[in-house]
Symmetry: D2
Subunit: 327 residues, 4 copies
């Protein structure tokens, strides 16, 4: 089904805009994080954007059959930028190499600058063009679309701004959340209330300046509901399986991601947790998502060929991928 | 030349064991971090190792022509495990998923367990074998030799234990320090006083349990001396160039690595630092080295094809690689 | 007025239970953080408490005349424990000297133990009695009642669990929030929607084990509404004025509290921010509230006799204190 | 005895300048952290100081009878500023509210400014005088002399710059290290090799801007050697006993200080560690030393009247205080 483009700025606290079925291909067009208000390099985000109308998410979608206590598998079938240009920026007092509201200092903000990135879907490139360099500098970069924000209604009756990551998912800002990935989220309320947004045509590891190459995105996804699977944000692709760590300081994100991976591996393979700890220590990836948001994110993962026997999570990733390919 | 195997437990404070020439192939055999005292799974490190005789480094080597203020390029030509087995372990109160001396808690230590990893140099594998799992679990893993420890005499007259990372290099514990990599280090005293050790047949991202697959290593390296290059640990391969961040908490390691990369790119390409900040934000890798040592490490890097014109660092990486290939 | 005891478990998302007038003495009885379910040392919190029904707050109270954008001054006139005993506990995987959900490790939880503290309002003491020590250990400690949780509806349409601290106040867990203190909070929605709870008969600096001496509390407070005052949690007593820092890691709480104090002092005294920075550097207190909650807290303050001329915040603290004394 | 003023810039790696006896009153004049190079507000530290000749420490002193494995009690009898003015400054990229080498950012340094503080030993005041405020601002502040740096030769053969804190003591920068305090340090080498420096006429909690009111200091101290006492920096006054935490991030300093205090209390009183944990949670102070140096510091302490029976550490504090009073 094609989902209408209704957006909001929170996870939780809003009524569903549509209902979706597990196994059904869902097509959504998301707005960019600037809510379409940046249209040229002269549109400074701090001037044209109105807090809290930042980082709009499309949804929420009520998933039929999802009950509180389940887990929701969201498989991203396709992500295609829905504009000819993306924008990035230095936003005042936001980013990893600047004083921020949280890491508060006496420095005035860095200069606010907007960069426009032409996108070529045929060539699969986004083009960086310098703004302040005397002799200029431009580079065609490989397009690598991802979704910065994917989440559900939080637990405990909370409502969180869409710009915040947490146990409900939200603004995870990990480049690993791209086409081909399945993200597992907790179901905290009936229907899960899934929403997505914050497409990036490209983003480095950590989202250093706090802003990816922001772009509206045509998202094709398909979901499934799992019972009896622990509902913390987890991660699977054809090749790898893992978990998110979502915390500050960054070592706590590292700890959380890896502890979940260790415990998952112990459960998958029926082995002792210390054996799993040792094994993960030698073979894990631990890839940084963001080091700029209210909570930092890391994805820890291992190759799936280390899982004995059955597919993890009942093979739901494979099943959803097949639906995506057939669709 | 073949360097004698004299080891020590500090960077700084020791006399050179040999002199080496820039451009000369140097062959060193390093001991493992346990100083050869773990020879079976029954040798618990906390029992058989004697502090501070941990993490022996071979050297120091006096580099002819290196003057305080220069930078030292150390190119790793080859790393070959020099034993048929490697060992890993859970060391009491050391690692990322346990209370430690620094992250102090009331928990007793996790059980101390040693794992023995058979190494097959022909097949290029190391074999994990579970120790505590009822039904067992074993896996042949791809051999990926690296050097945990590479450093020089520290600045300011300091002497640091070889187990500590810092501005002088030392126990960086990054899987990216492998054959084919050039590490740049500051020269703080005449002769630089290079030492290396702590070979790992394999290590995951972050060295989760605090211990890689520890193994003596046959190291072939070649060095060059650079004047006028800022002497913080930096990183180069055929494809990528970058910098280390070495700090706690982990976000500060991320900041340091990326700030150096941003400033380096601005200098390499003659562009504005904010343009470099934006560019790095979209294309960087930021790979975690260790989250267990006295300082955590991250390597931030970008692809070298983004560097305009000349090779970075006067092309020393390429020149050293050619020497290695010819050797 | 006497406020009915209706409680909830969130800031935001709930309807007011009463309206209050600025300048009016308000009497509230709060429940303890265990929601009265711990009545003896045999009632283990993890067994008798039901998440998310933890840390109940009484309210919210609609403050007449408070408009979004104002600040709310809440002066605590009196805090009197409303029970003959308080309880504390080690709660599984919660506290500063244990692995937690956020600082995730492989350790099993510390033993869960409950301590009962008899309270003597005449003698102004709470009595510690050991639970596990062979020869016993008991001590009469000075009663020092405080409110762990004081907050308003969050900004941005958020709803936060009452156990979480943030820009809206919430579970600040600072021993400085005691009788005689005025806490300033932002008004994010009309009426502010003030709620309070989590009384402690006593708490150390940092709330080390995660739990104070928890007790229902008779709270007498009086509020005032201020226009044109920045709405971040601030702090004032007869002698001192300051600001809260609320962040992880703890140095960011330190930074935030002190930056606000520096900027406030610069504004109060009409001096240059660098002069204020220097001055605060030599005379500030920076007292740790909690090092256990979702965000850590620190209060930075200076003596009020360093403020030139007029009382800070239009003298509202003094005015409210007089109402309290008269009442 | 009066110790000659020989200074150095490291702990470890230097020969003793004098030998002292336990129980002997020792008089030392320390230089200020600028090594006397700042003599007016026009002497910018970054211009007049030469790295690494910063933070000179007087010593080391060989303590007769101190053997590796012992602990050294250093009681500060008197601290009297030895100059008519002290100086403070904003040092480029150093301090808690600025980007630093460790917390690396793109911001240029804050302006470098020097403040001169006239000292009145009769009135016991230091006078702040603004430098950049149009209408001026001056305040007489209470003199509160302390020693920023107190340490011994490090363990493991290390040599550390005097500006770095660590397990050997060093640049702890805690306002609690003042006259009347006994600091306990590990003895890592025979003679301990004590050195002191970095007097502050006054310093706030955290040394916010990175620099106290720096002043040469006349130090009177007396030492004792203890066998069988764990050699981590600990703290005692007439009223309180506690331990230092020395780590980054700041919560790890909090953890380390409190874990040591909990374990000490359990040992002093012969009680269960969980009882001690609970008790400390309700009564501890946790006072921030510095949030600016290579490691942050916190002192956790409790009132000594909670110690059952004998004085802690064999009553050495009381004995040394008596010597000081008699002297």
């Amino acid at each position: 089904m094609d989902v209408p483009g209704n957006v909001g700025y929170t996870f939780g606290g809003r009524k569903p805009i549509a209902e979706i079925e597990p196994g059904e291909l869902v097509r959504i067009r998301t707005r960019d994080c600037f809510n379409s208000r940046v249209q040229s390099v002269d549109d400074l985000p701090s001037k044209v954007c109105r807090w809290p109308e930042l980082n709009p998410v499309t949804g929420p979608l009520y998933v039929r059959g999802a009950r509180a206590g389940d887990a929701l598998a969201v498989h991203l079938v396709d992500l295609t930028p829905a504009a000819e240009v993306g924008f990035s920026a230095t936003f005042p007092h936001f980013g990893a190499l600047t004083a921020t509201e949280a890491t508060a200092m006496l420095h005035p903000a860095l200069d606010e600058v907007v960069w426009e990135y032409p996108i070529d879907l045929e060539q699969r490139t986004v083009r960086f063009v310098s703004r302040r360099s005397e002799n200029g500098f431009a580079r065609d970069l490989e397009l690598a679309p991802m979704l910065g924000t994917i989440g559900v209604a939080p637990a405990g009756g909370e409502v969180r701004m869409s710009i915040v990551p947490g146990a409900h998912g939200g603004n995870l800002d990990s480049p690993l959340v791209c086409a081909g990935t399945t993200v597992y989220l907790p179901v905290n309320v009936d229907g899960a209330l899934l929403a997505v947004g914050d497409g990036h045509a490209l983003q480095g590891e950590g989202e250093l300046c706090g802003v990816g190459v922001e772009v509206p995105m045509d998202v094709t996804l398909v979901v499934e509901v799992l019972s009896g699977v622990a509902g913390w944000p987890r991660f699977e692709t054809d090749d790898r399986v893992g978990a998110f760590g979502i915390a500050r300081p960054l070592e706590d994100a590292y700890r959380g991601a890896n502890l979940r991976l260790v415990n998952d591996l112990a459960a998958f393979n029926g082995i002792d947790p210390l054996d799993a700890y040792q094994f993960v220590s030698q073979v894990n990836h631990a890839r940084i998502g963001n080091v700029v948001d209210a909570e930092y994110t890391i994805v820890a993962s291992i190759a799936k060929h280390h899982i004995i026997g059955a597919q993890p999570y009942y093979g739901v990733h494979r099943a959803l991928r097949e639906i995506g390919r057939a669709g």
